[in-house]
Symmetry: C2
Subunit: 256 residues, 2 copies
């Protein structure tokens, strides 16, 4: 075997398949993703857990700012995300994941510049939501960033799996924005009741389930005691579950 | 600028200094470390957080098993840790950290094979503990893995900063081992009272403070509500604080 060059992983000591995480979008969500991966893997020692290479690239330009950009001045996260994906592929990862829903608007660049499999948080979450509302005739409420909703990331993915999306009205979206930007991303205390009120309002308006389609909302779900709550489908949890399965590891009972 | 090759970070889009995290030792502790870094940075948006490249190398051979190895059969984590450090350096990181205390027994290989600065969790924690007992005449209780205690990792570091170490007796060490191996590393519920009882026993026996010198105990400290508890000095928190300062970012008020 030749010595690894550049930033390559040494194939002799890394347990394949190695998962590459395009992270930092945002950084809190990536930390929670790694923690959920540990808790969701049925392992009895460190060595039974997944091997991952993680780019915690916090300074990646804001995704929503670019999607909503009207005068062409916002920095473009697309090339940065694609470059990180190529970096991880060249380092030797076998699978790529991106624990950020809004960034999926920019994944074409990842697909065009890498050849390792890419596991989509949006696709696995839309599939889980479609199963949750199957036969009910009810739509799926999409709680996401303004950019995600504007770019119709989840609306398209739900349509692809035969489910109908409903998006929050202005007042509800404003409250979701407050939780995402003024609380989680701003490192401030989260208003648990504000979050739960948003979920209940969407269900009362007719939704069959609520998709937490923004990893900052996944942080609230995880840290404020909503894990397992039947009212919602959490995108970060769905990605963790599918990542572990794709890496050929068993799921812990609470996540199976 | 030439295009980045291998697994190199694109210097145009990464915010220097980039921190390289030799992680996965164990994986839960690395996830908590990333989470504490986010909470301990005084930031108001994603982009103000640190940029990091993280090797979550869970399959790295067990550190304590190698230190306590009597018949030469245990796999050696030293070359794996050194190879990961080289990989991160070649990828372009500016600073290396290793969020695992026991692994510091093996860091000579990191020092010998890399030239970027290395921030030691053991040194920063020993310094904080020495300040905590200064003028009291009391020793510092070291709660760590069997391997860490056997290799005298913290005893040496405390001596270097003029403090005296005391290590648990057999019965107390057995209970600490239970928390580390049968609870945190085994992905099982943590016995909060068992943990707190260990701390109180060490203080009642004369220690001036307790160093949580194992990142699995840092997970307990973080997740069971001990943050800020004046009875203990947490190694992962000390490393996070010094990493943020070394990366020239401001500390959040609760961590300053």
């Amino acid at each position: 075997m030749t010595a690894p060059e550049g930033g390559h992983l040494d194939p002799a000591s890394w347990h394949a398949p190695v998962v590459g995480v395009i992270g930092g979008l945002g950084p809190a969500a990536t930390a929670v993703f790694l923690d959920v991966l540990v808790r969701a893997t049925d392992a009895r020692s460190d060595q039974e857990h997944l091997d991952l290479l993680v780019s915690q690239h916090s300074s990646t330009p804001d995704r929503t700012a670019k999607i909503l950009d009207t005068d062409g001045t916002a920095a473009d996260p697309g090339p940065v995300i694609a470059a990180d994906a190529r970096m991880l592929e060249r380092a030797g990862v076998d699978l790529l994941v991106l624990p950020c829903n809004t960034a999926h608007h920019f994944v074409r660049g990842v697909h065009e510049s890498t050849s390792v499999p890419f596991l989509s948080i949006v696709e696995v979450t839309a599939a889980a939501a479609a199963r949750a509302v199957e036969g009910t005739g009810r739509p799926v409420a999409v709680f996401a960033t303004e950019g995600n909703v504007h770019a119709e990331v989840f609306q398209d993915a739900l349509r692809d799996v035969g489910a109908e999306a409903c998006v929050p009205d202005r007042a509800l979206q404003d409250r979701i924005n407050t939780i995402i930007y003024e609380q989680v991303k701003a490192n401030r205390p989260v208003d648990r009741e504000l979050f739960e009120g948003c979920v209940d309002e969407a269900l009362a308006a007719g939704a069959g389930t609520v998709v937490l389609g923004c990893t900052e909302l996944s942080v609230v779900y995880d840290q404020q005691g909503f894990r397992g709550d039947p009212r919602m489908i959490d995108s970060l949890t769905e990605l963790a579950r599918h990542t572990i399965t794709a890496a050929c590891r068993p799921l812990a009972p609470a996540f199976a």
